[in-house]
Symmetry: C2
Subunit: 765 residues, 2 copies
Amino acid sequence: MTSSAFLKNNPNLYVFLPLFYTVWSDAVLTPSEVATLEGLLRSQQWLTENERNFLLEQLNPASPPSADDLMAWRDEIKKVAGQPGIKDSLVELGIRLAGLYGNGSLDDTLQKARPSLEKIEATLGLISHEAVFNFQGVHDTITSQQTTRLSFEIEKLTQLLEGDQSEIIRKVKTIISDPEFQYIDSGNLETYRTHVLKWCTYLAGQGYGAIAYPKEFGGQGDMKAYFTIMETLSYHDLSMVIKFGVQFGLWGMSVYFLGTQKHHKKYLKDIGTLTLPGCFAMTETNHGSNVKGIETTATYNHTDKTFTIHTPNEYARKEYIGNAALHGQLATVFAKLILEGKDYGVSAFVVPLRDKNGKLAKGVTIKDCGRKMGLNGVDNGIIYFDNVVIPKDNMLDRFSGVNEDGKFESPIASDNRRFFTMLGTLVGGRIGIPRSGVAACKSGLTIAIRYGDQRRQFGPEGGSEVPILNYRTHQRRLMPLLATTYALHFGLRYLTERFLNRTEEEMQEIEALAAGLKAFATWHTTDTLQECREACGGKGYISENKIDALKNDTDIYTTFEGDNTVLMQLVAKSRLTEFRQEFGNMNVFTILNYVAAQAKTSLTEMNPLIVRKTDDDHLLDPEFQMNAFRYRERDILTSAARRLKRHIDSGMDSFDAFNVCQHHLLEVSFAYIERIILEQFQLAVKQTEDAGCKTVLKCLCDLFALYHIEKHKGWYLEQGYMEGVKTKAIRKLVNQLCWEIRQDAVPLVDAFNIPDSCLSAPIAQ
Amino acid sequence: MTSSAFLKNNPNLYVFLPLFYTVWSDAVLTPSEVATLEGLLRSQQWLTENERNFLLEQLNPASPPSADDLMAWRDEIKKVAGQPGIKDSLVELGIRLAGLYGNGSLDDTLQKARPSLEKIEATLGLISHEAVFNFQGVHDTITSQQTTRLSFEIEKLTQLLEGDQSEIIRKVKTIISDPEFQYIDSGNLETYRTHVLKWCTYLAGQGYGAIAYPKEFGGQGDMKAYFTIMETLSYHDLSMVIKFGVQFGLWGMSVYFLGTQKHHKKYLKDIGTLTLPGCFAMTETNHGSNVKGIETTATYNHTDKTFTIHTPNEYARKEYIGNAALHGQLATVFAKLILEGKDYGVSAFVVPLRDKNGKLAKGVTIKDCGRKMGLNGVDNGIIYFDNVVIPKDNMLDRFSGVNEDGKFESPIASDNRRFFTMLGTLVGGRIGIPRSGVAACKSGLTIAIRYGDQRRQFGPEGGSEVPILNYRTHQRRLMPLLATTYALHFGLRYLTERFLNRTEEEMQEIEALAAGLKAFATWHTTDTLQECREACGGKGYISENKIDALKNDTDIYTTFEGDNTVLMQLVAKSRLTEFRQEFGNMNVFTILNYVAAQAKTSLTEMNPLIVRKTDDDHLLDPEFQMNAFRYRERDILTSAARRLKRHIDSGMDSFDAFNVCQHHLLEVSFAYIERIILEQFQLAVKQTEDAGCKTVLKCLCDLFALYHIEKHKGWYLEQGYMEGVKTKAIRKLVNQLCWEIRQDAVPLVDAFNIPDSCLSAPIAQ
C-alpha cells in the first residue's frame, strides 16, 4: 500500500504530516534526532500497532519518502495552512489536516494527544513559526517592501551641490556628452593616447585649458572654474582629466607660478591652446616623495650665460612624466642649481624635449613607461638629460635666479623656506586630484546604487526576490560611503574657497588642509570603488560597466601629487607646530594649561551621565558629534606631542622619535581632517533652506559622523570618553541610518546629475 | 661693512649666530616671535649700541640675510659643532664659536650673559636638541641602522611550507619558468586568450590537468596534487590558472562528481588532455548567488527520451561562463528539470556548444563578455539556449535522474538536501580559489617587501636616506599582511586535508569552513595587493612590476565561487545550527547553560587582574590569544542566536530577522574563521622543530593574533573583556612585532621561493 493510500484509510495519521514533512525537508536531521522521534512515537498510546509501524517506516533513513511523496505531502498541508488560528504550531496544522479527512471522534482523540504531540515538536526544536509560515505561501516581508522614496526635489539638491558653478558645469557636461566624446576601447595604447590628446585639444579650443590664466594670455583668470572643470571632466575618461591636468595645471601653472613675466609672455598663451604641449618633470626614479633629494643638476655657465641640465646617474632620470613619451615639446624640469660649484637647491627650468615634428632635442633621451594599471591614455615617459644646454632665460626665476653678475639671487634667503614656498605654489594639484577622485566616487556609487536597487536576489520563502540594496550588509557597504562622498563634496568646496582666498599667513594651514584632504579623499576613492566593484558582483568586473576604469585610473591618486602616507606625516608635523612652544619648552605652566583643557572636557563631556547617554536625540545632536570629533583631535595631538617630547628628552634622535610615533601621527592627521569635514558638512546642513534637502543632508551628515565615531570606538572606549552601552547604541543607530538612507539612495545619486553617456554602464541605466 | 666683516671685528656677537641661523632657516617664524627676540636683544646690557643695531638689523624681515650669508653662517657654526659637551644648547654652541674667534675676557662676558641668553632660546621655543644635532652633520640613527638579518635557514622554512608536496611544486615551477611561459602583453584579447590556451594545453600534456581523475581516465587520483598545482601555477599568469581551473576543475569535476560511470568513460579522458574543452554553465544573468532561482529549463520528453534545454527569457541566459566565448565544445549546464509539467529542481546536463571547428550547435547563441577588469586571457561568454535537444544520457544523473518509465529518481528525497548535496560536491573550487589568492599575496608581498628593503627615501638631517621598510607606517602596512598570509597558508592546508579526508557527516562543517576561508582569504588578497600597490608607489602602478595583473586578476576572487558576503551569511547560518535546539526552544534550562558558560569565562578570564594584564609574557602567551579568539567567537554566536530568537519570537518574519542581524552574522563568521586560522597557525608553530623557523613563525603568529585582537579592540572593550591599558599595550606590542619582523621580512618572502621569471617585476630583483 502506498503511504498516500494508508493515510486516506487512517486519517488521524495526517496529524504527523506537517512534522514529518518538515523533518524530511530539513537536510540537517541527525540520527539522534530520529531516535528521539521514534521513542516518542512509541509512547503514543492511541496509535494502533499498524499505524505506529507505518509511521516508524516513514522515519527509516534507509527508505526515505520519495521526492514525489514529499511534493504530495506539501500539497496536502497547504490545503489547511491558510486557515486562521494556526499560529506557529505544526501540531495544530496536523490536527486541522486530520480534521479535513477524518471525522469528529478522531479529532477528539487528537485533542487528547495534543500535549504529548507538542512535546515531540518541542523536543525536536523545529522552528515551527517559520515552518508553518512557509506552508502559507507568498507573504510580504519588511525587507521585501523597502523601496525608493522621493523625499526631496532632486534638482534642488543638484543646485545646492553645484552652487555658483552651475553654468560652467552645464557647459562642460554638454561637451563631454557629445558623440565626439564617445568612449573608446583602451586596449590599444597608441589609439587611446591619440584620442585623449584629441579630446584635450578640443577642450582647449573651447577655452577651458586657459581658463585660470590671466586674460592677456587667453584665459579668464578663473581658477575656481578650472577646478570645476577638472571635477566635471572626471565624470568622463580619467586619462583625459590627467592629460588635461598635466598640460594646463602642472605644466602651465608651473610656468605661471614659478616663472616671471617673460615666461608668461613667451609660453602661456600657447600652453592654454595646447599648441605647446609640455611636461612637469619633477619626480626622479630615486626621488619621489623626497623632492629635496633630486639629483638632476642645472649648472650655470657665466661665460655664455647658459645652464647645463644633466642626469648625473641612471636613477636620477625623470620618471612617470605625463605627456613625455609622445607629445611634450617642453618641460618644466626641477634640478639643483649649481653656481660656482655650490649647490643652491632645487629650482625649475624650461627645457626642450622635442620639436613639433617629434624629433628629440640634443642630449635628451626618452623612454615610454608602457602599460600601466590605469590612465593608459596618458603617455608617461622617462627622461634622461645628457648635458642639455639651455639659455639663462629659461630659468623660472620667481623664487630663485642668477643676476647679471652671475650671483645667486632670491627674495627668500632660507633654502628651506624657498623650497617650501616654491612647492606651495603648486598646491592646486592637491585640490584638483581629490575633487577628481570624489567625482569618480560619485560615478561608482551611481552605478552600484542604481544596480543594487534593481538587482534582485533571494527572498522570503515563497515570496519574490528582493532588491539587494534592501539587505542590511549591502546598505552597510554603500551608505556610509555615500555619506562620506557627500561630506567630502562640502569639505573640498571649503578647501577650494580657502585656497582661492588665501593670504600669505594662511598658506601653511591651507597646505596642510590640502595635503590632508587629498590623502583622505583619495583613500576614500580607492575604498569606495573597491566596494562598488564587489557590490556589483560579476557585472562590476566587466569593463563595459565602467567600474574597472574608474578604479584602475584613480588607483594612483593615492600616490601622485604626494604619497598619502607621506602627506599625512606632513599634516601631522604642521599640526604639531601649534605645540612648538610647549614642545621645546614644556614647563609647569604649559602642562597646567593642558590639564585645564582636559579637565574642562571632563566636566562637560565626560561626566558619567554623558558617557552612557544613548538616546537618539543625544546621538543625533550635531554638538555631541562635533565634541566627540574635537575631543579626539585634541587628545591625539596632545598625546603625540607629549610622546615625541618624551622620546627626544630621553636622548632619542628626533628622526627616530618621529619614526616611533609615525602611526600615532597618522591618527593626528585623520582626526584633524575628519573634524574639518564634519564641520563643513554640518555648516552646509545648517545653511540649507529647502526642508526636503535639509532633512536628507542632515541624515547623511549624521551617518558620516556616527560611522566615523563607530570606526574609532576602540579609541573612545580606551579613553573612557564613551562606555560600551553608548558605542553599542551608536552601532545600532548607524544600521538604522543606513536603512533610512537606502530609501533616498537612488535620488541621492541622481542628484549628482552625471550624464548618462558618461556613466555609460548598462547596469546603471 | 658686510655682516661677516662686522662679526670678525666683534667676535662676541658670534654667540648669536646659531640662534639666528636657526631662526632664519626655519620657515615658520612669526612676526610676534621676531618682536620677542628684538625685545630680548634690547635687554642685553653688555652689547654696545653699534652691536645691538647690527643684531637688530639681522632680524629685519625687509632685509633678510642672503642665501650666501646663511650658507657662510652654517659653515662657521659647523666648525665647533662637533666639540664635546655642547648638549642641546644653541647658546652653548654660540659661546664656543665666540671663543673660537675671541679671547678669554669676551668669553667671561658671555658666561655672565648666559642665563639671559638661554631665556631667549627658551622663549623662542626652538627645538634646540634637534638644531644642534643637525649642525653636527652625519650621524646614524636607529631607524637608519635597521636592516635584514638572517635568523633562520630559508630552505628549511620553504620545506616546512611545502610539506609533502615539494616534488610536484618543483616540477610545476620548472615548467612555468620555461621560456615557453614567458609573459605576453595582455592588451590584445585575441593573442592573450590563444596564448593562455596554449599554456593550458602544455600543462595538460604533462598530465597535470587529469591528475585528480582516476587512473583509468589518465589521471593519478591525486586531488591533493591538483590543489598544489592550482596554487603553484598562481605564481604565474592568473588567466592561465582560471582557464586551467575551468577546464579541469569546474568542467571536469562536474562530470566526475555529478555524472556516473557512463559519463566518466565518455568524457573524462579527453577533458584531462584538453582535447575536449568545456564549460561550467551555472550562473545566469539574473541568478548568481541564488543558484536555486535559475530559470533555464531541461524538459524531458519521454517519447524520444530527450531533454530540451531552453533559456526562457533574456536574463536566464548563462553569463560569465569561462571557456564559452571561444574554446568550449561542451558545457555542464545547470537547469531545472521539468518532468510531466512538474519542476524537480536544479540538475546538471551535458550540452554541446560548438564542434571542433568552432561551429555553434543548433539553437546555441554565444556572446563574448569582452574586456574585463582582469583575467583577460580567459574567454568568458554569455550563452543562450533556444530549445536545444540532447539525449537522455546527457543528464549527469548521480543525484537525480529519470528512470526507464520516465519517472523522477533520486537517492535523496528532499529537494533541499539534494540541491545542497549536489553543490557540496563542488566545494573544491572554494579551496582552489583561496589557495590561488594566497599565492598571489605571496607574489605581491615578495615584490613590495623586496622593494621596500631597497628603496630609500628621506633620512636624518645630514645622514643618508633610509630604506622605506624601516619606517614604522610602512611596516604597519605590510607586516600584518605578511603574518596573515603565513597564517592562511596553514589555515588552507588544514582545509585541504579536511576536504581530502572528509566523511559524510563532516560535510556540512567542511563546506562552512571552505566558504568562510574562501571569503576571508580572498578579501585578504584584495587588501594585500592594494596595500602592495600603494607601498610600491608609482612603481607599483607600472604594469611590468606585476602588481597590476595580480590585483586586477584576483579582484573577482571575492565574487566567484560564491560572493563573499553571501558565503559569510551561509557560514553564520551553519554555525547557528549548533543552536538549533535552543533556538526553537529556548527554555530556562538552556538559558542557564548559557549563563553558566559565560560565568565560567568571567571567572577564569574576566577577573580584574586579567583584563588589565599587560606584560609581554601574558600577551605573547598562545593560551591568552586563543582564549580571546574563542571568547569572541562564542559570545558573538550566542548573542546573534539570542537576538534572532528575540525577533522571531516577537512575530518578525525570519527572513526579516536574518536581515536585521546580517551585520552581526558577518561577525559570527569572521570570529569563527579567525579562530580556526589561529588554531592552525599555533599548531604549526608547536610542531616546528627547527629552532630558527620556530622562532620566526612564533613571532608571525603572535602578530597575526594580536593584530586581529587590536582590530577588534572596540568589541573587547565593549564587552569588558579587556580594559584600555591592555588594548594600548597590545597596540604597542603590534608595533614592536612589526619592527622585529621587518628584519626577517626579506628572508620570509624569499622562503615562498617564487621563481624569478614568474615575479618578473624589475623592482623585485
